[in-house]
Each structure stands twice: as C-alpha cells, then as structure tokens.
Symmetry: C2
Subunit: 136 residues, 2 copies
Amino acid sequence: MSLDIGEVVRESGVAASTLRYYEEKGLIRSIGRNGLRRQFNADVLDKLALINIGKEAGFSLEELTDMFGEYKRPAIDRDKLLHKANDLERSIKRLSALRDGLRHAAKCPQKNHFDCATFQRLLKLASKRKKRSATR
Amino acid sequence: MSLDIGEVVRESGVAASTLRYYEEKGLIRSIGRNGLRRQFNADVLDKLALINIGKEAGFSLEELTDMFGEYKRPAIDRDKLLHKANDLERSIKRLSALRDGLRHAAKCPQKNHFDCATFQRLLKLASKRKKRSATR
DNA sequence: AGTTGACTTAAAGTCAACTTTAAGTTGTAC
DNA sequence: GTACAACTTAAAGTTGACTTTAAGTCAACT
C-alpha cells in the first residue's frame, strides 16, 4: 500500500514542500521512489493527522519528532510521553477557562471585559501559572 | 495603581522588549512615563496572563489584538468571540483525545503506536478534520 | 523521438514573534 | 555634580516553519 507524494498531497491537504521538509526533519519517512518521485506508506496519512493535532497542541516539530519521529525508535521514552500528557492536561484546563471566558464576554454587557467580575474569575482560574517550553 | 516597566517584568516574567513590542502592536498600553520609563496600569498583569493563555490556544497576536486589544474598543464583535470560543471547543476536544492517546501510548506494549488499535481509535477521534486559521 | 506534467534539488526568501545591539537619556545615590 | 543602573529608541538579527524559485529529471503519452 504505497502512495505517490501527489496522492498524499491530495488526501492530506499538506503541501509537497512541507512533506519534503518534514522528511528532512525526520518527522515522516518515504519508503522509496518511483523515478524521482517519493512514495509513502499509507500510514503517513495518520501520521500527518497526528502531527497537525500536535501542532495545534503547541508542540514544536522537534517535540513531535521526539514523540513520533521515525528515527527515534529506541527511545519511545514513556515518562516523557506521560509528562507531555500532563502538560497537555493543564493546558486543556486553561483553554476551557478561556473558552468560557470568551463565551461570557460575548454576552456580558460590560464595555470592558476586565471590569467584569465573572471574566476576572475565569481569568484567575485560567492562569494557574506554569511555564510551558520556550519553543512556540 | 501604576507599575514601572521593571516591576511588570518582574511580576509577569515577560521581557521588557516584549512589552514594548506588544505595545507597538496595540495589544497592551502604557499609561505614561516616569522620565523615559513606561508606567503601566496594574491590570496589565491580567492582560498579559490572558495573552499567554490565548497564545497557548493558538491565537496569533493579531487575533488577540482583535479580541482584547486597546484600540479596537468600538468593535468588541461578540459574534467573533463566540466563533473563537467554538473553534476553541473543537480544539479542546482534539487535544483531549491527544492527551488520552499519549497516556495510552505510554503504557501500551506495542513497539509502534500506529500498530495499536486503541491509539488508532483515539487518533480517528482526534482528527475530525477542520482546518484552523493559517497563522501559527 | 519529443512534449508534457508532475515531480526533483539546493538555495534563497518570507513571516510572525521576538531578541539583540548600539548609542543615548534619566532618576536616584553618593 | 558625577556615576550608575535601569531604562529609552531604531534598526538589525534570530528562530521555527515553511514557501518560492530556478534549473533539472523522469514516465507516460502521442
């Protein structure tokens, strides 16, 4: 089950130049060539979906390479994964508070969100300060 | 209640150059000077906390300026806020699935996550494809 | 055998979000 | 009144994540 790069582009919506860039970074891998053209295993589509979610979560390509890259196999490093999951959990909590804050701000009559007690409370809730990795 | 830029740096952990940059972009505002030194209203600390959460949520500084900037007051645009909240909600769902996926991967005995049915299921769950804004 | 279209590479370019640098200014402390 | 630390500005530099460009290659079709 191998896909031509063109098919991967069409199915994933990811640009060819991006696929080459990801491969160069060790994030994905091509399994051969047809002439010059890269061929990918079909599971690259899952991988790309995962990469997109990971980016959305604020992980850098380097972090994603650590977690799911092709050439890091020896070190799956389960502690690291758990640690990331915990980071993510905290992050999700803050984002949930932000979501509630936005929803509230959308109906609150105050001209300035910062004058609103409910918004303030949500904000406090959201900012249990914990510094995330520098890369963004 | 005004704070010297140095105090803001100390309390918020945000670099002075970043504060100047944010001000230049209209994201925050200083209320005056002491000599050359910028003075900020104490509420800038809440604002910065909010900005950090927003960045974590994947919003660009420009989007944040639209949402909470100082010079956009006429257009609070409640529909836009609600829309962002809904984006965020979808995002949170994907991130929750990713968190579960990471946790599972950390205990799953499979050498390759992609060979694991549970991981696959979480992945499918996480990737209800919806393209987010280009800026990241 | 020649044209076409989808790819290839290496290198340079772009963009957001900052940071660094160089040279200058100020309030306070001595 | 002078030294010093903490700021100031404008401009250039950096980083991550790509994209664009220019010149070339190949398989397939005519």
